[in-house]
């Protein structure tokens, strides 16, 4: 692709030019280019011919008064219901209060159950884990502590 090719007007701009949808500056640029570029002018002419052919398409017709048909079908249904405006946050207030009350009740029931004799898990159970990892060095204090517990290490 050489520089001259890159300078051609894109299909996007040619198409928009045909539809008069370019802004004034782009329109002037395209028109200036088209005046000197037979290739882009031919492409635009192709787009224009395609557009003109749409006007020649047969004008198909529904062939009857659809309003009468629709009226008959609408007679069997209710009129459209007027749109109800969205409630906004105030409309959600009762729902929110209900939810808050449910949560509060749940907490109160849970507290009553636990307070009535159910024991909390004792965190001291975690002490089964030795602070010294397997294979780790055990200093004198460690041995001393073990000896205190079992008496086997006391020399």
């Amino acid at each position: 692709m050489n520089a001259a090719h890159e300078a051609h007007i894109t299909d996007n701009d040619l198409s928009a030019h045909l539809d008069a949808e370019l802004d004034a500056a782009a329109q002037r640029r395209v028109e200036g280019h088209l005046a000197a570029c037979p290739r882009c002018a031919a492409r635009l002419a192709d787009f224009a011919a395609l557009s003109a052919d749409f006007d020649r398409l047969p004008q198909e017709s529904f062939g009857c008064d659809l309003a009468g048909v629709i009226a008959g079908r609408l007679a069997a249904v209710a009129p459209p219901r007027p749109r109800i405006p969205a409630p906004g946050w105030r409309g959600l207030l009762p729902l929110g209060l209900g939810a808050a009350a449910s949560v509060a009740l749940g907490i109160a029931m849970g507290a009553a159950l636990l307070g009535g004799g159910a024991a909390l898990p004792r965190m001291t159970a975690m002490s089964v884990f030795d602070p010294i990892p397997p294979g780790g060095l055990c200093l004198d204090a460690c041995y001393a502590r073990g000896a205190d517990k079992t008496g086997a290490f006391i020399k």
Binding site: F47, S61, P79
Partner: protein, 195 residues
């Protein structure tokens, strides 16, 4: 006309069926032609045009006066058409390569007489119809909205729910593709130029 559309739509919103009937009469041919060109089947197009207006009646409470009624109506027609095409699994039409260009497709589907035209014009129309049928639905609909409905890019963007920049590029691609199909069916060499 457009102001009257919105006025009628506002009345129809309150349940005024006569106002809605006027809207139907005003837009039935446009909607029908668009749907027919999208589907390629007259019977289906008639059914879908009816469905479009019934859906519009039911959806009227949601219509906002800021929106043009015609644009809103075409949104409904377009969505219903695409739904049907998806059900038919024919969103991508298959080009009919084997037929002779300009044959049969020139004839209108409803048997109505064509205007007096030269043979070349009739062939061009036939080629255009075949080129349209060969396009993906996405390109066909945007060409129809622009060329048949004469919608501006802003109106097309509102109807299809896309940006105006996308309208510009998609329309250009659709035109280029239609020309390529057109030339293919006509036996001409394809244009090598690309956007």
């Amino acid at each position: 006309m457009d102001d009257a559309d919105e006025e009628l739509a506002a009345r129809a919103q309150t349940g005024d069926r006569q106002a809605f009937a006027l809207l139907v009469r005003r837009h039935q041919e446009r909607v029908f032609r668009f749907v027919l060109r999208m589907l390629g089947s007259r019977d289906e197009a008639m059914d879908l045009t009816q469905d479009t207006f019934l859906k519009a009646w039911n959806a009227l409470p949601a219509w906002q006066p800021e929106a043009r009624f015609a644009t809103w109506l075409f949104q409904i027609a377009r969505n219903a058409t695409l739904d049907l095409l998806r059900r038919r699994q024919l969103v991508e039409f298959v080009p009919l390569d084997a037929d002779t260009p300009g044959e049969a497709a020139c004839e209108p589907r409803d048997g109505a007489p064509l205007p007096e035209e030269r043979l070349a014009d009739r062939q061009r129309i036939g080629l255009l119809e075949r080129a349209l049928a060969a396009l993906p639905a996405e390109q066909r609909e945007i060409l129809l909205l622009r060329e048949l409905e004469d919608m501006s890019y802003a109106e097309i963007a509102a109807t299809l729910g896309i940006h105006e920049g996308t309208v510009k590029s998609r329309l250009a691609r659709a035109r280029a593709a239609a020309l390529a199909h057109y030339r293919h069916h006509a036996g001409e060499s394809p244009d090598e130029r690309r956007a």
